[in-house]
């Protein structure tokens, strides 16, 4: 099949076939003549006029591992203004676009430089046969983030890439002395800075005690996987996934997301963790899937294969097999569930839990939410051990004339909650309804599903539901009249905070819903609790239909928001902050205490002791609580929080066009000493006190003795 390449050259065009690219010139009489044929995939650039009647353009094609760059004149094919061959250092894929620019050299001839955009969305500037600079602009289109721990420090193995011998250390020391004496030149200063960065604590490549150094594995839209170090953001390794590159089999492969696959705990010293990248071969939901496992320490692809079914859902299960691989369930477009890894051991582990695993699907266009259970085998011709059929358990149909689903949110699977009881004023207890099987759904009336202001307040309403996804039970429903989306929501522990627009008040609003378990509220007998005769720790089933109560409150909020997330810590003890990505591309951290449905205008004394803030109608935006300080995360799209090992700290990664990473301590660092704690002073004080005790003891003994002799 022949395709004409788009170009803006006068009198010349290119035709691309599967084997070669042919250049055909068009003469003024309308005659076509084949000028040249190049056997490699070629790309042509824009036309650049270098003098009154001359136009130049660039041709780029790939050799074995390098790029051939030719700059030719449009009307004179055989004259080469420039012919260069540039070596690429890493796998960047094919060239996608070329742009040329010229400059005038000292001897009045023209030099050319070319800016090329590669398949992995990186930019390279080629000049004089070299890559002058390169830029990983694929990082501007991140679609999925996973984390990985760094290797444990091994005895006797030097992890630092450069081992400084004595001479190097001496040289470095001399440079530092020169710098402090202000005798260093600009190069010396740069060298000193480089040394400082290399040896600083935060960019080491081993695990640290507090869990601050991690690897962020990000998947970009171009199918390239990057590993970013949380200490200084450097790219540790990057990999252009071959399975996600365009081939004849897969015309338009896209990555879906990256998941954690193997997280070795027991074998942390010998096995490397790996991540799973799930992609699909085309853009429809019935395109076949692609799997790829990547080792996170080396950045190499361990295995990749195409699936024989489509991918509609990826459900990570809370089960692991003996090699510490996490089991995943993939639901295809026909509703069949496939278990990965395809191993008999995984099947036996899964069969034990089969009856307790459910999944639900949200179909926004039909206004349906369906819950499914799993059957023990597939309905198919080929017997497949790893395929499981599904049966419908419940369904909720939303009336399509008045409700259209716009947003759903659930709790994060790896969230840790510390206690199930919330102690309120006067030492009273309320039991939180903590269930990971809840779904928050927001629907608007179809007329109001467009932009803000496209409907009148009278005909728009926002209805929110809290649904139990195992039984299909609607636990709570609330209607906001005169409000519309877009709705951004976050669900954590037993509360949901969501943001929407109130047309009547012409303001954005945020509402909090807290869910409490009423069926446990009778557990107030102290004796029973002391003796342990309560059932508060026994496993809970959704089929027991516990009675729940909810409390909710709404507040005005001035900003429109792009993304919302909540901080998460290792044990869930630290109080939570909501991270709100505002329309101004900044991240605001608001304490959860502002979103407390028990706030009242005049709090009682005991409520004040508990820490409940008095109720105000709008949420205060404190300028100091912007996490991004004075910076903007351009084009903010998502916020991801990762717990650190130290309980008081959490790591926040924001991505969009820019990337931003920081470490937050929502309740301030209550579990570690400040960095400038003077251990020397403490030691001196202790020694001085011991000496003083000894001296005074001796003196008092002497005094007693002399008194007895009087």
């Amino acid at each position: 099949m022949a395709v004409i390449l788009p170009s803006k050259l006068t009198g010349l065009f290119a035709v691309k076939t599967s084997t070669a690219t042919a250049f055909i010139s068009v003469s003024s009489e309308g005659k076509l003549e084949v000028v040249d044929k190049i056997m490699h995939p070629t790309f042509i650039s824009n036309a650049l006029s270098i003098s009154e009647d001359q136009q130049a353009f660039a041709l780029v094609w790939h050799g074995d591992n390098d790029i051939h760059l030719n700059v030719k004149q449009v009307h004179d094919w055989n004259s080469d203004l420039l012919k260069e061959r540039i070596k690429l250092d890493q796998q960047r894929g094919l060239v996608h676009k070329v742009f040329i620019n010229n400059y005038v050299r000292t001897d009045k001839s023209h030099g050319f430089r070319a800016l090329i955009v590669m398949e992995d969305h990186s930019l390279l500037l080629l000049q004089q046969g070299k890559v002058v600079w390169s830029r990983e602009d694929g990082l501007a289109s991140i679609i999925g983030v996973a984390t990985s721990e760094l290797p444990v420090e091994k005895e006797g193995v030097s992890v630092a890439k450069v081992e400084l011998n004595l001479f190097e250390w001496l040289k470095g020391h001399m440079l530092k002395v020169k710098g402090s004496l202000m005798l260093a030149s600009a190069e010396d200063v740069a060298a000193i800075q480089g040394m400082r960065l290399k040896s600083s604590e935060k960019s080491k490549m081993i695990r640290d005690h507090n869990g601050f150094r991690k690897l962020l594995i990000v998947l970009t839209k171009s199918g390239k996987l990057f590993a970013l170090h949380t200490g200084d953001g450097q790219i540790v390794w990057s990999l252009l996934l071959n399975s996600l590159r365009q081939t004849e089999a897969c015309e338009n492969p896209t990555g879906i997301n990256v998941f954690q696959w193997q997280v070795p705990h027991h074998h942390a010293m010998d096995e490397n963790p790996s991540v799973l990248v799930v992609g699909r071969c085309g853009t429809g939901t019935d395109a076949l899937g692609i799997f790829s496992y990547i080792d996170t320490y080396t950045g190499k692809e361990l295995k990749s294969f195409g699936l024989d079914h489509s991918v509609a859902q990826v459900i990570p299960l809370p089960l692991t097999d003996s090699t510490e691989q996490l089991l995943h369930l993939l639901i295809d477009a026909n509703g069949q569930a496939h278990l990965y890894p395809r191993a008999p051991e995984a099947v036996s582990i899964f069969q034990r839990e089969l009856s307790n695993i459910y999944w639900y699907s949200v179909e926004a266009d039909k206004g349906l939410i369906k819950g499914h259970g799993l059957k023990s085998n597939c309905a198919g011709e080929v017997a497949d051990n790893y395929c499981f059929g599904t049966r419908e358990v419940w369904s909720i149909v939303f009336p399509s004339e008045s409700e259209k689903i716009i947003s759903t949110v659930t709790r994060k699977s790896n969230e840790v909650v510390h206690t199930q009881a919330k102690v309120i004023a006067d030492q009273d207890v309320m039991y939180k309804y903590i269930s990971k099987n809840l779904l928050f759904v927001a629907t608007v009336s179809p007329k109001a599903s467009g932009d803000i202001g496209s409907a009148t307040p009278g005909e728009s309403q926002l209805v929110v539901y809290v649904i139990d996804t195992v039984t299909g039970r609607i636990l709570h429903r609330m209607t906001h009249h005169g409000s519309q989306g877009p709705v951004h929501a976050v669900f954590s522990e037993n509360w949901i905070v969501y943001h929407y627009f109130n047309l009547r008040a012409h303001r954005y609003e945020m509402t909090v819903i807290e869910i409490y378990d009423q069926s446990r509220a009778d557990n107030k007998d102290v004796l029973k609790l002391v003796l342990g005769k309560h059932n508060l720790s026994s496993p809970v089933s959704s089929y027991s239909r516990p009675e729940v109560t909810t409390k909710s409150q709404s507040y005005y909020f001035t900003h429109s928001i792009k993304a919302i997330a909540v901080t998460s810590t290792a044990k869930g003890i630290t109080s939570r902050h909501l991270l709100i990505g505002t329309i101004g591309d900044q991240v605001l951290a608001m304490d959860k205490r502002f979103f407390d449905p028990r706030r009242s205008v005049n709090p009682t004394q005991s409520e004040k002791e508990e820490g409940i803030l008095p109720l105000t109608d709008s949420l205060p935006i404190i300028p100091q609580s912007y996490v991004t300080h004075s910076l903007k995360v351009e084009g903010l799209r998502g916020i991801v929080t990762v717990p650190a090992k130290l309980e008081s700290n959490t790591l926040v990664f924001t991505y969009g066009v820019d990337l931003f990473f920081t470490r937050l301590a929502p309740s301030r660092t209550y579990d570690s000493l400040t960095e400038d704690f003077s251990y020397a002073l403490l030691l001196i004080t202790i020694v001085a006190l011991v000496v003083a005790i000894f001296v005074t003891w001796v003196l008092s003994e002497k005094k007693d003795l002399s008194d007895k002799w009087r």
Partner: protein, 180 residues
């Protein structure tokens, strides 16, 4: 003067020793004043001793009762100080409460030592001891009650429940919008 006995050995010729324990009026150096009779000293030895012992026993019993009731005043004073300390957890209130707890314990440990000087075969020390112990236990109870008012004792449901981890869920359900 002449009849006064000179105390030998001390070198004082004019010291007169007036103690005269002889019983017969005639053998005395200094005659008794007229109308004085020494009949009270002429009682039976055992009676004298018995009376002395009785007096001692009574005195001891009285003292024992006083000692037994001493903690009561202490109790009142402690109660007043605790009321002054207030309901908040501060240095003063903690200090008062713990001293109110420690004093009765110390006193209870030294019950025997307290009643040691009044030990007597004729005196029944059991009841005063019991009263002493009871009053000290009352002081201890007052200290514990104060501790409770400060909120430091785990007597409420919230103290036992706030350490319970969330219950595990039997079912597992996930899903959502079809992935784009």
């Amino acid at each position: 003067m002449d009849k006064g006995k000179a105390v030998m050995g001390s070198g004082r010729r004019w010291a007169v020793d007036f103690t005269d324990n002889s019983t017969l009026p005639s053998s005395r150096d200094i005659p008794d004043p007229p109308g004085f009779s020494r009949a009270s000293q002429e009682q039976d030895d055992s009676a004298v001793a018995k009376q002395k012992k009785d007096a001692e026993a009574n005195w001891k019993a009285q003292k024992a009762w006083e000692v037994a009731q001493a903690p009561f005043k202490n109790l009142l004073m402690m109660g007043f100080m605790m009321w002054m300390a207030g309901n908040t957890v501060h240095l003063f209130s903690i200090g008062i409460t713990f001293s109110a707890l420690w004093q009765p314990i110390g006193a209870l440990q030294g019950v025997g030592k307290v009643f040691e000087p009044y030990k007597d075969s004729k005196v029944d020390l059991l009841v005063p001891k019991l009263v002493f112990i009871a009053l000290n236990l009352g002081g201890l109870a007052l200290g514990i009650w104060k501790l409770n008012t400060l909120g430091l004792l785990p007597t409420h449901a919230s103290d036992w429940v706030s350490s319970l981890p969330p219950a595990k869920e039997v079912e597992y359900s996930r899903g959502g919008f079809p992935l784009l």
